[in-house]
Symmetry: C2
Subunit: 340 residues, 2 copies
Amino acid sequence: MKKKTTIYDIAKKLNLTAATVSRALNNNEKISENTRKLVQETALEMNYEQNTLARALKSGKSYNVGVIVPRMDSNFFASVIRGIEEELYPKGYHVIICQTHDQENLETGNINSLLNAQVDGILMSISNSKTKNQIFNSLSRKRVPLIFFDRKKDISGVSSVTIDDFNGAYEATKHLIEQGCKRIAHLSNDRSLEIFKNRYLGYKQAILDHGLELDESLVIETHSKVEEGRKTAKALLSMERPPDAIFSSSDFTALGAIQEIKAQGLKIPEDICVVGFSNEPFTRFMELSITSVDQSPIEMGRMTAQVFLEEVNNGKNVKMEKQIVLTPELIVRKSSLKKQ
Amino acid sequence: MKKKTTIYDIAKKLNLTAATVSRALNNNEKISENTRKLVQETALEMNYEQNTLARALKSGKSYNVGVIVPRMDSNFFASVIRGIEEELYPKGYHVIICQTHDQENLETGNINSLLNAQVDGILMSISNSKTKNQIFNSLSRKRVPLIFFDRKKDISGVSSVTIDDFNGAYEATKHLIEQGCKRIAHLSNDRSLEIFKNRYLGYKQAILDHGLELDESLVIETHSKVEEGRKTAKALLSMERPPDAIFSSSDFTALGAIQEIKAQGLKIPEDICVVGFSNEPFTRFMELSITSVDQSPIEMGRMTAQVFLEEVNNGKNVKMEKQIVLTPELIVRKSSLKKQ
């Protein structure tokens, strides 16, 4: 039988100490990124079988962090993940990602999968308001840190990093009012999720504060998809008194609305102004660039990772809860700029 | 001391047999998705501590599959992942994802992380031609199935699902020639990766087959980023004999090129035709819609997952290698359509 490779064999080959090899294999941040890479590659080449199960049992750490998002193909979530990675990689952590496609059963399943994968913590943006609190509470009992970003639930002891959606929506609506718009429609989304509820409330408050009529028939709940935006705009334009502006809680529905408005031969911004939310890159690439609300996703990711690191460093006997709220920024572009 | 919850307690509460509970906890596909969800939620609520380490050791399966992509924020990779998920979720697998940002050390690190997370297989699109074969060979020694999609390396015993990049590039270039273009530039990328090499070769062959002059100064290696496209187009337009068409190996560089061409007051397609590659959604959303090559990413993902399932079902003692090549489709849009 062939003798098993040990860390001493790797150390000898690389002219390092066994302690350095062991630390490098465990992703210890005291070891340089280059040395870690060299040791890990050599370990693979020499067919070294690290007993990861034993290691996980002993140290209680896997140096893997799980991230759960509703979808990855939006620039917003991809950028949050980028921010998380930028913060965690230098500390020796790896990031593994699951997506839920807004399906409740996948949310529960993903949490289980990540727990099975022995992650050291879960950073997540929830998909569905119906996912039971027990599932999140069970993470706390297992002492696996959980941190929400963007889409959160209010659960005692769970930290979160969000943006001030109320404020973002208020500023967007106020901007439309300043452009002279009087009948502003709002493309909303599942308002059992806080972010969409708050965007609606911000819109409503701006309307009321500026003495405009609040017409709830101009508020339509839809899904963040281009086709849904088209469909909803069609319904709005066929009203007896159609809107002269649309504030959408999503850039994707804003884009669909713009396509429909143009298809009907109306002019943007002259006839109808449109504002989206998230500042997806396409809003800036379009010939008719789209006004949108930037959510500083990279910063959101970095701060979420920082809160995780803080919780880990505090140790398992310290309970902390931190609520961080970032301020969004309205980026005014052609789709809503009537007055220079 | 509080008594530990057992599967019998869960079975009693839900009025199911212990065998059903056990199967549901192990994501056995014989149990309906609904029952699995119910059991898994109840297990979490009752604070059931499944000994996943013991289970992993015993069954040798985690029902987690790892996917490694260069980046997630392109619709192409997001759609491949969607296809993989559509195929694997009904079989009781969960999908966990890592991205490399085209960094070689992250590629090695991600493979290690996924191995530590006890995945049952790794489906990956490689980032870098320099990542050592030993790393991939070590997966084979550990008997963790590895399947490449889109960006592959030729490694004996490793299956792959790719598209015929040569053909896609040939058809795109031929289309430009048919539009009357005579000096066609090519925005290439790292040609040590097969996909970019084959796109270049397809371009070259189409030029030669149609008796046009092959001018290598019109072939520029760049990165798949909008800004890089702008920069490269600027260089091309300042040539003594500038091109009358650009075939880009990436939609993102094609978009950048279009921005630069317009900024210089030139007309598309009248003065210069532009064709991209990947059929990213923005190519269809733009007012000046962009001709591109569709790579059927959902299908690529589904087939990659099918090859994985086949390898798993074959068992560990069967070695198979399967090369699947999908045919791309040229989608002609405004950016290259001079003649109707």
